[in-house]
């Protein structure tokens, strides 16, 4: 068939683990070949026709951030006129609305805000839990920053956040887990090994986490593979990753600028993620960056999860990419492709008695 051979077809057909050089050779395969192999891997890991999603909203408690990443259109530096920290009243209104929509939890992320202390974060988690909502909160750069600011070890910090009610950790801030790239796009953010260190500590503390990859900027395809291997290696050790969520850099309003990557490269990267990450159970589509139609196609390229309703999303929206979907629309989009939608929570447990 298409592309080089060297035993790769047999390995893919058998579902055998791919080494780094084999993984890099996946890029030479055509889109349909990758899709077919990824779909087979998806069926091995997630048999049946189920596609899951969660009802949530992305709450950004602050946009003030010292990190100043060049790909980000959302943050404001400390002291900026339009910087904010969400007040409790506004937060309560958001939570009440989410409850009314049948939400099970909140994706809680903000920035590296020097004016917030540990007591604030603990109160924030506790407050949200008070509404009967899970807190999928604080990406590794935030956790790493919090630990430093409060002179706590990662383990101690995580213990305190868990005691306040933290349910799981989102996989944001991973960008590309290669320091050559991070040096250029996010020099003030935690390094790739620090990101992995936070995740390892979280997994050991019993927290489930997801992992992301933001691609399509300065990284090479090989560096995407390196990213996948770092996730796979840690997962071999801890088994704490629930899902992998690759999404494409959106240049609108950022300092980094450039052109957004196209849909074919997105699908290829998605399929390769499924093939390399043989130990991460779920793969999520990014409809917020790709739009509903590419998200549907993605279900044939290894993905088994449609993400979330994101009643609210501010970070991608800041780049001018504005896809919005309701629960009903997600349900229809999944069904239209011949799959069965199922609600889940942020730890990827299926919702009980969900008859959809």
């Amino acid at each position: 068939m298409n592309g080089p051979d060297n035993g790769l077809p047999e390995k893919l057909a058998a579902g055998a683990r791919l080494d780094a050089s084999e993984s890099c050779r996946l890029w030479d395969l055509d889109l349909l070949t990758l899709g077919a192999a990824a779909d087979q891997a998806r069926r091995r890991l997630n048999p049946g026709n189920r596609v899951t999603f969660v009802i949530d909203r992305n709450i950004n408690y602050t946009n003030i951030c010292t990190s100043g990443c060049r790909f980000c259109a959302f943050y404001r530096p400390p002291g900026a006129a339009d910087g904010y920290v969400l007040d409790w009243e506004a937060l309560a209104a958001k939570l009440t609305e989410l409850k009314a929509h049948g939400g099970s939890g909140v994706l809680l992320q903000g920035g590296l805000n020097p004016d917030l202390n540990l007591a604030y974060y603990l109160e924030l988690v506790h407050f949200i839990r008070g509404f009967g909502l899970a807190v999928h909160g604080f990406s590794p750069p935030e956790i790493f920053y919090m630990a430093g600011q409060n002179h706590l070890s990662l383990a101690d910090l995580l213990r305190r956040l868990m005691a306040a009610g933290l349910s799981s950790i989102p996989g944001g801030g991973a960008e590309i887990l290669v320091d050559r790239v991070r040096q250029q796009i996010s020099p003030h953010k935690c390094t790739s090994s620090q990101w992995l260190e936070v995740m390892a500590a979280a997994h050991r503390a019993g927290l489930k986490t997801s992992a992301t990859m933001m691609f399509g900027h300065l990284e090479t395809r090989e560096e995407r593979i390196m990213h996948l291997f770092k996730i796979r290696d840690l997962q071999d050790d801890t088994g704490g990753f629930t899902a992998f969520i690759p999404w494409t850099y959106q240049p609108g309003g950022t300092h980094l600028k450039g052109e957004a990557l196209g849909a074919v490269e997105y699908l290829k990267t998605l399929a390769i993620s499924r093939l390399v990450l043989d130990n991460v159970p779920h793969l999520q589509v990014s409809w917020v960056t790709q739009g509903p139609k590419v998200a549907q196609v993605a279900l044939k390229f290894g993905a088994d999860d449609f993400g979330s309703t994101m009643l609210e999303e501010n970070v991608v929206a800041a780049t001018g990419v504005g896809f919005r979907l309701t629960r009903q629309e997600i349900d229809t989009l999944i069904r239209q492709c011949g799959y069965k939608p199922r609600l889940r929570d942020h730890r990827y447990n299926l919702a009980v008695s969900s008859e959809q």
Partner: protein
């Protein structure tokens, strides 16, 4: 079989036919629509696409002019058409049209694509003067204008035969006909969606008369509303039969139904899986059509790019101002630049080729 990308054993006999270059029948068409194996269908279509065009993918530097949305037909699936006097109804005067042409006179446009409604009052001379006036301003540009539906309407209004009308339009500068207005040929569907519109027989007849006058045409199918799989296949087979007779069709363009602002806004519209399958199956069934086009304005640039791996060899063009699909809620941009189209094609692993209307290569 998995490595070849075909998983559904029901596709095996079709695979054999495609490999042998044999014609597919109606049952094959239905099997292709019914299989859940999207990637298998894509692989089959790619076999044909690569045989015909290799890795080439075509685009055109074009301009769209939708001269009026006033239309006597009132088709339920349409968000563009208005009755005369209704809010939102518009018609462009000839000077307005010429202004649009002149505004882009410095651009290397090779085709102006002109489509409107079935206007109750505009006389044939308006259309003839439109073509003549544009040609006078840009003699080198090819005019692809007026669907078979508009042509039949014009002929009727002018009390002329269709061939005489086409000859007059050709004389005035018409180069070819776009493929719109075919909708779905099923009488059942048309009865409920567009009973006033030119019949399927009439549509095919106008296209074939154009072919006999040495005017090429395109063909379309509006899908994803009330039609069944068998009705889609029937549409494709009828086009294939017509092409066997006159051979003047250049491209087939499946058009995804956009429900917003139409009389069918409660429908969801086709899924992306359906879009890709329909394009791929068109490539497989229409073995005598040179080109399958993904109209990016309707599908979106992203899905159009993916479709280049599902049998499509043409993504239309720069466009710049399109009203019909945008009034049905399309979120796509108004235009793409040449560089954007080339990048879109390259990223899909294809080789961009700028073409004119007749698919002659332009040195861009």
């Amino acid at each position: 079989m998995v490595w070849a990308g075909i998983k559904d054993p029901a596709l095996q006999p079709i695979y054999d036919k495609v490999a042998a270059g044999a014609r597919l029948n109606r049952q094959d068409g239905c099997t292709l629509f019914e299989t859940p194996d999207l990637l298998g269908v894509g692989r089959l279509a790619q076999t044909v696409r690569e045989r015909l065009h290799g890795r080439k993918a075509y685009y055109i530097y074009n301009q769209h002019i939708n001269y009026s949305n006033i239309c006597v037909n009132g088709c339920k699936f349409c968000a563009f058409g208005r009755k005369a006097g209704e809010p939102g109804a518009y018609e462009m005067s000839l000077p307005e049209i010429f202004e649009k042409v002149e505004a882009r006179a410095h651009e290397p446009i090779t085709e102006i694509h002109i489509v409107g409604g079935c206007h109750p009052d505009l006389p044939l001379v308006y259309y003839l003067d439109m073509l003549r006036g544009i040609k006078a301003r840009r003699p080198e540009v090819h005019l692809q204008a007026f669907t078979a539906v508009e042509v039949a309407h014009l002929a009727q209004k002018a009390e002329m035969s269709v061939p005489d009308t086409l000859a007059a339009l050709k004389e005035a500068g018409l180069g070819s006909l776009p493929g719109g207005g075919a909708e779905v040929f099923s009488p059942r569907v048309r009865q409920s969606l567009c009973p006033e519109k030119l019949s399927p027989e009439g549509w095919i007849e106008v296209a074939q008369m154009a072919h006999r006058l040495d005017l090429n045409t395109n063909a379309t199918m509006l899908y994803g509303h009330l039609e069944t799989v068998a009705e889609r296949v029937d549409h494709l087979v009828r086009l294939r039969e017509a092409q066997d007779e006159t051979g003047g069709f250049l491209a087939f363009i499946p058009l995804a139904f956009h429900p917003a602002n139409t009389g069918l806004s409660d429908l969801a519209g086709p899924s992306a899986i359906d879009d890709l399958k329909t394009l791929a199956i068109s490539r497989l069934m229409l073995d005598n059509f040179p080109h399958i086009k993904a109209f990016w304005v309707m599908l979106g640039p992203k899905l159009s790019q993916i479709s280049l791996c599902f049998g499509v060899d043409d993504v239309d063009g720069t466009v710049m101002e399109e009203r019909i699909t945008h009034m049905a809620g399309a979120q796509t941009p108004q235009g793409l630049t040449r560089a954007q189209l080339q990048a879109l094609i390259r990223e899909a692993g294809c080789e961009p080729v700028e073409r004119d209307t007749l698919y002659r290569v332009i040195d861009a």
